[in-house]
């Protein structure tokens, strides 16, 4: 196990390294300079050069990349003369646009995205999986048919549509819910939950639909497995057959999907964040791409990649815990 984790972490680091290099290269392949974008019409070539120099964009790619990486581990000094600033490790630089330390930006946006995802994932796993499992067990009944139709509708809806409709119905037109907002959990848990309820419902419902279908199919498949028949042949009561034997096996593949879904979502739920006006990682990263804001682009890409890589490791480890046939090596 320990060896597995070490090996996978090493692999993760090299993946992240490759991604950071690629992001760097792609960024500079764009035929537009961030200095120019920042300066706008006011700048003549000299000023653009100065801006480039100030941002360190006039140095070689290798040097820039080296500084970036060194900054993450050892921190770095930015600026010169009266404008020297210490950027402590992990230093991801300063936003080209607002001059805010990127770590600060992450500190205020990551909790938003994490809150959205954690709440929504809890909802979709609880609702989706239990709905799917139940309708698999009641296959062919009215409940099953209803659940399938609802989840078909849910699966074909899009966040930007469903979210907006909910927003209109529950907030703008009726005031049933407060407009979505983010309050740190530590500040006021009730407000935190209330403010995020709508995105949770939206993402939760849509993904529930998906997970209901997935887990129903998975459960049906498992129910037809030989070992379920064996369990019944042993004389186990239905409930025990379903929970101890079928559910346990059916849920394993869902762990992979859910883990990767959650990992990917943590990198930013762009549409959800935009619709509900939440300043999360997704919106910040999209904005950064539009602004050619390299430090933020790099940081968000790396963070998203880290989430996905970590999710992979966690999923594999969970798998090994759940399924004794899986050996971590």
């Amino acid at each position: 196990m320990v060896r597995f984790v070490i090996r996978r972490l090493l692999f993760a680091v090299s993946t992240l390294f490759a991604i950071s290099v690629l992001t760097f290269l792609l960024f500079f392949a764009v035929p537009s300079s961030p200095a120019e974008v920042m300066c706008g019409k006011q700048c003549n070539p000299t000023q653009i050069e100065q801006t480039e120099h100030r941002l360190g964009l006039d140095r070689t790619l290798v040097a820039q990349y080296g500084t970036f990486v060194a900054g993450i581990f050892a921190g770095r000094t930015i600026g010169a003369g009266d404008f020297i600033r210490q950027c402590p490790a992990p230093c991801l630089g300063y936003s080209f646009r607002t001059d805010e330390p990127v770590t600060d930006i992450l500190k205020r946006t990551v909790p938003v995205t994490v809150s959205i995802v954690v709440g929504a994932a809890t909802m979709w796993l609880l609702i989706g999986v239990s709905l799917g499992m139940t309708s698999a067990l009641r296959r062919g009944t009215l409940f099953d048919r209803l659940a399938i139709s609802v989840s078909l509708v849910g699966a074909s809806l899009q966040v930007y549509f469903f979210g907006l409709v909910l927003l209109l119905l529950l907030v703008y037109r009726t005031d049933l819910l407060p407009a979505p907002s983010y309050t740190p959990f530590t500040e006021n848990p009730a407000k935190w939950a209330l403010g995020l309820l709508l995105p949770w419902i939206t993402l939760g419902f849509l993904n529930s639909a998906l997970y209901a279908r997935l887990s129903r199919a998975q459960m049906l498949e498992t129910l037809s497995e030989d070992f379920v028949r064996t369990a019944r042949a042993k004389g186990l009561p239905k409930r025990q057959v379903h929970t101890r034997h079928a559910l346990r096996a059916a849920i394993t593949p869902l762990i992979t999907i859910a883990g990767l879904d959650i990992g990917a979502s943590l990198g930013g739920t762009v549409i959800t964040e935009s619709i509900f006006g939440l300043q999360g990682l997704g919106r910040v990263s999209v904005q950064a791409v539009e602004d050619l804001n390299l430090p933020i682009v790099l940081a968000t890409v790396l963070l998203a990649a880290t989430f996905i890589v970590l999710a992979n490791i966690v999923v594999d480890m969970l798998y090994a815990v759940v399924d004794p046939r899986v050996r971590l090596s």
Binding site: D226, A231, A233, G235, P237, H245, P324, R325
Partner: protein, 353 residues
């Protein structure tokens, strides 16, 4: 209609009378089992033989009540230890499952739960019917059973997972699990098919051994007449959901009366000869159970069909005495023709024994 075997002095533990099992589907009604009767006494082994789709597995599943009740129509009578389980409440049947009747499945790898240790799975089977027993007791019992079925270091192996066992060991574990509650009836559905020949023999020996010890009634479901020859006392040959021939092992294997049985005998690889030559599979495929041929279900594949005018194609043959007591066959051929054909062709091929 069928004629039950002559009643033995002691009541058979399992008595199946005119069993029909049907699945309504969108394409039509599947008649998986169509009027089959048989019985097994304790200490006795019945071999049910047939190709896949002949209804033998469905028969065994319905005895345990493992069919999907919502999608199955079941008729006739299944009497287990004197209680008819057809129409019995599911909960009552469940209580009997694993305690009075148990089953061994063909593929022990898929039949055992991959996530639970062998010992746990056996102990679970024990505790469900011995609710007052402690966990430790159940575990002890599991280890004891593993030991009994010949698994070395049973305490250690009880902590292993199914995938860590070899095929033969796993099947032994499966047997241990099925016998943990001393069931009076054991149904073994192709228990040795997935195993290689030497292991197969060991497992069959083990079963025979255990049967002596526990005095259980065994139903051995197989497509392999060799297995039947080794372990069974009585044989029931099934085709397309019906019984085509039944009798003692001696009767059915040594003087088979039904062309289908002949075919089965011919397709058994001889242990002595060249498999390539010996193996004569029955031509054609089993019929669709939704659209059974009128008349004798076997007629499309039977080279002797039509020898009695068109009876084979209009009238389903009933089980009739085939000569020796207890030997019944469902065939339109008269006894003389059967004997003649058998002596000329089948015995010559020398397939069975």
């Amino acid at each position: 209609m069928s004629v039950p075997p002559a009643a033995p002095p002691d009541e058979p533990y399992l008595q199946v009378r005119d069993l029909t099992v049907q699945f309504p589907t969108e394409d039509g009604l599947v008649r998986a089992v169509d009027g089959v009767s048989f019985s097994v006494r304790r200490g006795q082994t019945l071999g049910i033989v047939g190709e896949s789709g002949s209804g033998k597995s469905v028969t065994s599943l319905s005895i345990l009540g493992l069919h999907n009740a919502a999608r199955t129509r079941i008729g006739g009578e299944i009497s287990v230890g004197g209680r008819n389980i057809v129409g019995m409440a599911d909960e009552k049947i469940r209580e009997m499952r694993g305690r009075d009747m148990a089953m061994i499945f063909q593929d022990s790898l898929s039949a055992l739960h991959p996530y639970y240790r062998i010992g746990v799975q056996i102990a679970e089977a024990y505790r469900i019917h011995h609710p007052s027993s402690s966990k430790a007791e159940a575990n002890r019992r599991a280890v004891e059973m593993l030991d009994r079925v010949g698994i070395p270091q049973p305490e250690r192996r009880a902590r292993s997972y199914p995938h860590e066992f070899s095929g033969g060991m796993r099947q032994r574990a499966m047997i241990a699990m099925s016998l943990v509650n001393d069931p009076a009836l054991l149904i073994a559905d192709e228990p040795t098919t997935a195993l290689d020949v030497t292991v197969q023999a060991q497992i069959l020996d083990l079963l025979a051994d255990l049967q002596r010890e526990f005095n259980s009634a065994i139903i051995m479901i197989t497509h392999d007449l060799g297995v039947v020859a080794q372990i069974a006392d009585e044989v029931l040959v099934m085709y397309a959901g019906r019984a085509t021939e039944t009798g003692s092992v001696e009767q059915v294997l040594r003087s088979a009366q039904h062309p289908y049985t002949w075919g089965l005998l011919a397709s058994v690889p001889s242990l002595h000869g060249d498999a390539e030559i010996d193996l004569v599979p029955i031509k054609g495929n089993p019929p669709s159970l939704i659209n059974l041929p009128t008349g004798c279900a076997f007629s499309p594949r039977c080279r002797y069909a039509g020898r009695n005018g068109n009876r084979s194609f209009v009238e389903a043959p009933q089980l009739r005495p085939a000569g020796q007591p207890g030997h019944l066959v469902a065939c339109h051929l008269d006894a003389d023709s059967r004997l003649k054909i058998y002596q000329e062709g089948i015995a010559h091929a020398g397939a069975a024994q």
